[in-house]
């Protein structure tokens, strides 16, 4: 099976296909019932670091490389957004509080890249190299749907929201894998909560500068499985967030309390199947 076939299968985000690709999948299962793989598909990691040909043998390193990829993505995304803003006479991101917030978020992403790489090194693994990204979604071709990602603030923010929210979900997959290492587990939680802070702020930026992509009432948290984005391709990071059952306990109207369905879904952020996350981010990565 050649690489482009592997990748198109991953992009379909069909876990059944994934079974065929990765006989080592069972190794990466955690004890968490219903949680999918905690690392990105092996082929994806292997792609970016030929030296890491032993992917699959170290679930912790694989899990960390999975979130490292998302941190690289965010770091690059915000850097390019700032390049199109700072010192520009028609900045993508309005100067002032908007730009300074994105600078803070980008700087945190850099800190996260370095933190995660540090832990990968401590675990004796090899960090994946930063891939080449194409945030138009065109994978290096001019055919990307988001051709105006760095000239249209509305598009930029919609993608930013997706990247932040999906990263929050991705970090939840890491926790069970690394839990035997208290320092790493604690660091992972501390990275994860920052992503959630970022997500809340990006949502506030969208409300403050409403554009055609903004739909419904957008809050700092996720309501049901709503993206509040007028683009169904960007629904992917929200699939499964409408869950209102936690550990067999129904949160809606729990114990007679006035917790409606929206609130019940908002009160808990869900993990997401790693192959679904991979399928989403693959659209923005240029395969060598």
């Amino acid at each position: 099976m050649n690489i482009s076939t592997i990748l198109s299968k991953i992009a379909q985000a069909d876990s059944e296909d994934f079974e065929q690709l990765s006989p080592r999948r069972d190794m990466l299962r955690t004890a968490v019932k219903g949680a999918a793989l905690t690392a990105l598909p092996l082929a994806l990691s292997a792609l970016f670091n030929k030296a890491n040909a032993q992917t699959g043998s170290n679930p912790i390193v694989d899990a960390l490389n999975g979130v490292l990829l998302l941190e690289y993505l965010q770091e690059e995304f915000y850097t390019l957004g700032l390049d199109a803003s700072i010192k520009s006479s028609s900045p993508l991101i309005p100067s002032g509080l908007e730009q300074s917030a994105i600078i803070d978020i980008r700087n945190h992403a850099t800190g996260h890249v370095n933190t995660v790489k540090g832990f990968i090194g401590k675990k004796g693994g090899t960090a994946i190299d930063k891939p080449k990204f194409d945030f138009t979604g065109g994978k290096g071709t001019p055919a990307g749907k988001y051709s105006d990602v760095f000239s249209n603030y509305d598009v930029f923010l919609a993608l930013a929201q997706c990247f932040e929210d999906i990263t929050v979900r991705a970090y939840k997959n890491v926790l069970g894998v690394v839990m035997a290492d208290n320092d790493l587990l604690t660091a992972s939680m501390r990275l994860h909560s920052v992503e959630a802070r970022h997500a809340a702020h990006i949502r506030q930026l969208r409300v403050a500068a409403p554009g055609p992509l903004l739909t419904g009432t957008l809050m700092p948290w996720i309501t049901r499985d709503e993206s509040n984005i007028a683009d169904s391709d960007l629904n992917v990071p929200y699939v499964g967030e409408d869950n209102t059952m936690q550990s067999n306990i129904q949160i809606k109207d729990i114990n007679g309390q006035a917790v409606d369905e929206d609130a019940a879904s908002e009160a808990f952020d869900e993990p997401q199947d790693s192959s679904v996350i991979a399928g989403f981010v693959m659209a923005f990565i240029i395969i060598p």
Binding site: T30, A101, M179, T186, A196, Q204, I249, I254, A258, V259
Partner: protein, 227 residues
């Protein structure tokens, strides 16, 4: 005294064994607060024992959810002067979330009719926007730090995933309220390290010291896991 009466109480509320142990079997040990300690008043009050193991950690997080729910319920009963629609909408939603968290923990710890802790907010002027927002932010940041510190105390992977689902929502709350108070402070250096990008973390004892002024009863965290 504690273990037997708690398990008895669980049995009385009719939660099936399967469901109780379905919570990964890790919720052993002392479960409920308050209601389980009738008649246990000693001369030197050691405080209400939060318990040990994963259930002790859940009890600890249950305390925080109770604190926050009580606070937001009060904040919306006595809205601060000048509360705008956005603020009201945020606080209303957050109140619901915290009630949801509170009731979730109540149920997962065995449910039943144990009464909630009582809180003392008399040092706050709920009519003042700054008192309310500052305290809300303080509690949310505190909650974020508590969850981040609690993770390593959990021994069961399912329980860990469960608390992570609440943890990120607390962080959203914190960021949202910080932005309400002053836009752009959602992740400022008082909470997020600007070199490594890591959020706050606190151990249970640190959290206890911060919440004790708001508690009418003493809590005993001495049996919680330490790693």
């Amino acid at each position: 005294m504690t273990d037997t009466s708690n398990l008895e109480q669980v049995a009385r509320t009719g939660i099936s064994r399967r469901r109780f142990f379905g919570y990964a079997g890790a919720l052993a040990g002392a479960g409920l607060l308050a209601g389980s300690l009738i008649g246990c008043q000693k001369e030197e009050d050691p405080g209400i024992d939060i318990g040990s193991g994963d259930s002790g950690v859940f009890n600890y997080l249950y305390v925080l959810a109770q604190l926050q729910a009580a606070f937001y319920i009060k904040a919306l009963t006595v809205p601060f002067v000048g509360m705008n629609k956005r603020e009201e909408d945020y606080l209303t939603a957050i109140r619901k979330h915290e009630i949801g968290h509170r009731e979730f923990y109540r149920n997962i710890l065995g449910g039943g009719t144990s009464s909630d802790l009582e809180f003392d907010f008399t040092m706050l002027d709920f009519k003042k926007r700054t008192d309310v927002l500052d305290t809300a932010i303080k509690f949310e940041d505190l909650s974020v730090s508590a969850y981040n510190g609690a993770a390593q105390l959990i021994s069961n992977a399912a329980n860990l995933l469960t608390i992570s689902k609440v943890a990120s929502v607390e962080a959203r709350h914190a960021a949202a309220l910080r932005d309400v108070k002053l836009t752009g402070t959602f992740a400022d250096p008082t909470v997020v390290n600007d070199v490594n990008g890591l959020d706050l973390v606190r151990v249970p004892d640190e959290v206890l010291a911060i919440i004790q002024p708001y508690l009418k009863k003493t809590l005993n965290f001495s049996n919680l896991p330490t790693s």
